[in-house]
Point group: D2
Chain length 337, copies 4
Amino acid sequence: MLNYGVIGYGYWGPNLVRSFARATASKVSAIVELDAEKRARAAREYPGVDVTNDLGAVIADSRIYVVAIATPVSTHYYLAKAALQAGKHIFIEKPFTVRAEEAEDLIEEAERRDLQIFVDHTFIYTGAVRKIKQLIEQGDLGNILYYDSVRINLGLFQHDVNVLWDLAVHDLAILDHVLTQKPIAVSAVAVDPIGGQLASIGYLTLYYSSSTIAHIHASWLAPVKLRQTLIGGDKRMIVYNDLEPSEKVRIYDKGVEFAKSMEETYRLQVGYRSGDMLAPQLDPSEALLVAASHANDCIIRGVAPITCGQVGCRIVKVLEAADESVRGQGRIVSLSL
Amino acid sequence: MLNYGVIGYGYWGPNLVRSFARATASKVSAIVELDAEKRARAAREYPGVDVTNDLGAVIADSRIYVVAIATPVSTHYYLAKAALQAGKHIFIEKPFTVRAEEAEDLIEEAERRDLQIFVDHTFIYTGAVRKIKQLIEQGDLGNILYYDSVRINLGLFQHDVNVLWDLAVHDLAILDHVLTQKPIAVSAVAVDPIGGQLASIGYLTLYYSSSTIAHIHASWLAPVKLRQTLIGGDKRMIVYNDLEPSEKVRIYDKGVEFAKSMEETYRLQVGYRSGDMLAPQLDPSEALLVAASHANDCIIRGVAPITCGQVGCRIVKVLEAADESVRGQGRIVSLSL
Amino acid sequence: MLNYGVIGYGYWGPNLVRSFARATASKVSAIVELDAEKRARAAREYPGVDVTNDLGAVIADSRIYVVAIATPVSTHYYLAKAALQAGKHIFIEKPFTVRAEEAEDLIEEAERRDLQIFVDHTFIYTGAVRKIKQLIEQGDLGNILYYDSVRINLGLFQHDVNVLWDLAVHDLAILDHVLTQKPIAVSAVAVDPIGGQLASIGYLTLYYSSSTIAHIHASWLAPVKLRQTLIGGDKRMIVYNDLEPSEKVRIYDKGVEFAKSMEETYRLQVGYRSGDMLAPQLDPSEALLVAASHANDCIIRGVAPITCGQVGCRIVKVLEAADESVRGQGRIVSLSL
Amino acid sequence: MLNYGVIGYGYWGPNLVRSFARATASKVSAIVELDAEKRARAAREYPGVDVTNDLGAVIADSRIYVVAIATPVSTHYYLAKAALQAGKHIFIEKPFTVRAEEAEDLIEEAERRDLQIFVDHTFIYTGAVRKIKQLIEQGDLGNILYYDSVRINLGLFQHDVNVLWDLAVHDLAILDHVLTQKPIAVSAVAVDPIGGQLASIGYLTLYYSSSTIAHIHASWLAPVKLRQTLIGGDKRMIVYNDLEPSEKVRIYDKGVEFAKSMEETYRLQVGYRSGDMLAPQLDPSEALLVAASHANDCIIRGVAPITCGQVGCRIVKVLEAADESVRGQGRIVSLSL
């Protein structure tokens, strides 16, 4: 039974505690939270768990095997470093760190000590994304032509990162997972039309060595919530709507065919196949529980999880390059991932 | 009764003929079409109209008062110039021309001869866009923060312009119409992942001197058709879905409010109001018939239409600048409109 | 080339004229319409067709081979009888007649003269209903457990029949077409809560000798338009939404499985399979054109059409029995079809 | 602080425990559950609560002030009777009892002892239904013409009552709450086409002394989940879709107007107004928490709750009459409520 210490009991921490408790191979021994009111809530909800503001004691606690970090992103590096140095595996919220250097240092620290880093890119563990990965691997979509995602809503209140780091990060994780190729360049625009300190609307474009293009629209300023992703292949295309209750992934048997016109050779001639649409059954398991079980399993078996530190680091690199592009008014920034 | 000669009886020409015939102040005397099969179709459908391939005769025909041009964009300038020189008013499909210089020359020619140019940006005459303009003018939305449009489908077969000139042009016309300010810069990405000659996926961003931002996603390669526009103001926000049968415009009484946190001053603190949603009744009149009636009315009264040559020219300037940005890998190109 | 005379140029007549003109084997020679304004409209739209108020002349016209009847239902019998007696085939709007006796008399008249009766149950010729029939015939749904249809809207203005005869008639035709068994009894409720002369809300239930049940909700008093049909089989189930632009028929791989519980034998134990959803590509041809072509083909070949007089008569019998049930406060009325 | 004892920790019991714990005026002292596995789960989730299979001890426990009953319907009467006799207030799941006689006996018992009965018709406490009641009371809809509800899904596994008692009960509670008039008669059809012991598809019609009609379609055999209610008034109409995430109640400014035609007096002439649609903001509070707080408040203040025993009893009477109608093949059964 893996013992977890969970740091942070704000927005996401309670979900982590619940998931480690429900997963068969783990339990939660301690919760660290600096806010007294949130500590009281944790104590009420989990009477058998140590609830404390003494971070050092939990990190030093020899009964604790894994430290889960659900605190503001800016604190990730310091907390993760301390936990690794104390010989704990870490389970850490996304984005992994605020700088790629920090991510690399943590990866090195973990490797030296033979510890696992699990970055909580939860979407990777949804039935929808797992099905999409399978479809792409099987070649059902053919060559991937584009990925386009709209991930917008009337946003949450407090943020310590901008909207690309908060929302586009999910698409970057999905892209990293389902495509075999890695992007070679990024350009991004991010603005805050309401005059706040953090950009609340962002557009991010990824370029690949093939002609594949990916584009992400992230916003905290939309009147409606949308989670709508198009993935176009030359054989089939997917519409993935994460808000749809039962048919999140729709596979369109539509593709592109070429036909050369004799009489009008100066024009593009493209034919479109039309066909059936299939919404495959998806595994309805709760993604965070799948993630927790996978983390437990990898820690026990001593192998790297699907969303290991390297994955988290690649995504931080893209976000850092996107920030650079934003400062350069959307100019293209090269990536070497 | 204004006599129209209509040039081009392909995809859109039949709609023009029908609309000029239905409008109370106009009729169609002649149709010019080079393709014999399409001519036969026109003759069958409009037995009382001269159907011919003799362009010169129609342009010279003294009974004809207005020449409507529904031919490939590359031919617009030459046909419009000839018609104006023959003293005819013109009703011309969008985009107005392929280069702003051409548009300016036509405007000058028309002014010299006291003729009207009507550019057929049909969307401007829909009940939905007219309602949106009214809402913005009345101040119902407050300051406009952003405009975001997704205009995608599994596209039509033959094109003589790329997807930005074909689809984003609609949003450029709507923006020109409903916003008082004009954009000061544009950046655009446009690619053809299927290896054709014309870009089939495009992303275009407009910058304004205020912090307003506009973004358009246009594609011929989507498996589903979407026409979904968000317009965010600091008082209210609109979702305009042109495919919705009865509630195309939805006004969300949601906006943004600022609140400074005392304890966490390093974080952005924004509150969101939530409220009712109103879908106002829209004028259900067919937009093209409204456009035709407005064109007739302006020609008779000798005044410039809402979508006059200057409007058409501004939109061509943005599209030309977008092309330049695409060639420069998305770099920002200034506009002076 | 079959010559049609079309009687009635009100709501549906123009669609008939257009379809017979577009079908390859037919043309329209004459239109009969008593209203002067509608006659003027017909003359403007079809300059080559005789437009007249002289019904007798058209029925007697030896050049005319088929008489199409698109007049109020109460006139169907008299017009159809006259046309048959004059040796014309008939193409007649739904419902066929107001009484089954009339329908039977027309069938007998046609048989005696070797003429065809085509009842225009247009839905039968849609790609959606043709696909549903094929799926049921192939056994893809298994045994049919139920059919449930909601067919409501804020209704058209003038009616000469109540809402069951106007709207439920479509479902009765679909049921007659796609199910092999015929209903053995009907019960119906129909009311007019706004105090008009004709019932505007109706509920109709059909019973079959198996445990299959069919239910239809028809209304002219709904604020939204719905065309939503569920067909449940023990192997698969269909949701048919006729207003959906592209995926009208959805096949759910869901069904029912039995499992006896040992510990709780007093309770029903039913398991539900869950699975994929498939929206098959449908033939997008316009149903009325398919209907016209089929009518032409049957008349030329001398065979009964799919929606022949007998079909139309069975549906009138169900509607007559439904009226009887309504008068009896919903009591069950037996059918022998 | 009101002490609750909760009987039954199956499907709904855990929700009750959570809600009484979260409500400010109550806490849970004891949980009674006969199944050992469910008891173990309750003990794990609520370490501070007595979890037992000793029903008598809990009912006799002098510290317990309210007994909440979430057991199969057939046991409601006996458990409620025992709790009342022991001087406890009761909070009981819907439907209240299996027979109206039982309900009446419990009401009498409670009145004699000055105890409250709260029947958990949770829907009454949703923001949506509260808004609908307010709109009707204010006269915004005008006279109510009809209520039509579709409440279907691929159903839960085990049931001890048929689909009308399980699902239509919700609509009966909503109707009882939002309409001032009570139904005067009911007719119902309920079948089980899969050959189980309990009807799984039901249609229920309510008649009122005015021309108002209500109809409910309930089913456990649908491939999709629908919760779609239309309420038509002669001034405005509502579409209430409980599955819609944010705009559950839509008010259509559509109504019916009469106009007598001079030329066609034999026909019904009805005009329809068309207008705006408004989706009002709803109170997003969780309905069960609102219900628990209301129950606590009524018990403390000694007043009858909105969903008191009389309400629960009226609904049982309708369901009993519906059962009688089903046995009579849908014949009308009078009600005196």
